[in-house]
Amino acid sequence: MFTIAVGGYVLCVAVLVAVAWGAAHRRRPRTPAPAPVVASLLEAARRRAVSAVTLSILVIVALFAAGYFLDSMVGLPVALAPALGGAAGLLLYAATPPSVLRVDPGSARAASLTPRTPLSFVPGWGAALLATVAVAQVVFLLFTGATSSADESGRYRAIAFRTADSASSSSPYAGWFYGVPLMGATVILVAAVLLALWRVSSTPALPQRELSELDAGWRRTTNRIIVSVGIAALLLQFGSVAIPSGLAIGNAAFAGVPPHWQTIGRVFAAGGLAMMAGSIAGLTLAALWAFALPDLARRRRTANVVRGDETAPEGVSR
């Protein structure tokens, strides 16, 4: 069951990426070829982004597999896999030195007077969604922690209901046992997102006035990829604890338990499924944007240039 779930998740992402990539290729308009130095710079940016997304997926799968074999940890590696996987990919991105266009010592250059911060080119929807999911998850973990009970080993990973004449409990339930490490992992993931965004903002700009739109284009696209990896990892983490928690409530709640508990259990399970679907969509989009980074970075710019081959700006090299 577990192997099917992990395999299905990875397969979903892979199939969606392949289908969307193929469809995008067929419909892609002919765009002017960039100058070789610019093309190689964009290719390097694509490699870094693809590496980050790939490492994220690999670490998630590896930790899922580790959790499957480490029975004694009762699924903790699986719960932590999404955030740690996402953080690993983003830290790889932040640690990889960016390619910078070098300028001939005697050639003129230009620079924008707008200060760049890690949030300068982050899409508004991305920042809002990331913050919303992070806060919602913390609220969920605090709620499940406060309502959790100790299992037979004394770990707060069960939900229990008691009435005067009967009692019932079920696990795994998020509780403090999973909740505290998950909150720590969330902090690590958000820090990794900010670190990767900082790496983008601290990369020197392309040194020519005519390349300023391209410069903004690669920053926007890269930040979209970074934020999408962060959101996908958070949604996967949230979903993978919300579903079992919802099912545990459903299993433990018997006839004498207030009926709103059944509703809460169903909301957790259904919300968890929706978050898993959202996570697949987020990771798919991140992978697609990473593969298409050179085209996306040039998209706005190509609308303003005359069709035909571009020439390299004077005095730049990689």
């Binding site: 924008s112 007077l113 601290s202 006035r209």
Partner: protein, 128 residues
């Protein structure tokens, strides 16, 4: 944007200082506007951080910008020229024909010294 030309006879920090001062006085950089950090501008222009730091220090000494650890480097309010100065400058530029910038400035300097020699007040000063 500002430009930097290593082949120019003007020293690097003066190129940066001069352009920023012009943009502030022309009102293109408004009061309170934040400027890029020394590190960012130096990296983008591919110059040493000390070059930008020197330009910023001179602008600060001229009262055009202020630097703060918490608020960053910002343009100080009230340094833009009056509209009539802008209009007069545009009229002059359109009247100079084929002169280059240095020749046009030379004509302004000459008129300036002439006015000073005749004992007229310098523009911007009031006699009591």
């Amino acid at each position: 944007m500002i430009a930097f030309d290593p082949r120019s006879a003007v020293v690097p920090f003066e190129q940066i200082r001069g352009q920023l001062a012009d943009l502030i006085r022309a009102g293109d950089l408004s009061g309170g506007q934040r400027l890029p950090s020394i590190r960012q501008l130096a990296a983008d222009l591919r110059v040493a951080p000390g070059t930008v730091a020197k330009a910023y220090a001179m602008l600060e000494a001229e009262g055009l910008i202020e630097a703060s650890r918490t608020r960053g480097t910002r343009v100080i309010e009230g340094n833009a020229h009056a509209d009539e100065i802008h209009r007069a400058a545009k009229r002059y530029v359109s009247a100079v024909g084929d002169l280059d910038l240095e020749q046009a400035l030379s004509a302004v300097r000459s008129a300036w010294h002439d006015r000073h020699a005749r004992g007229l007040p310098r523009p911007g000063t009031q006699k009591a």
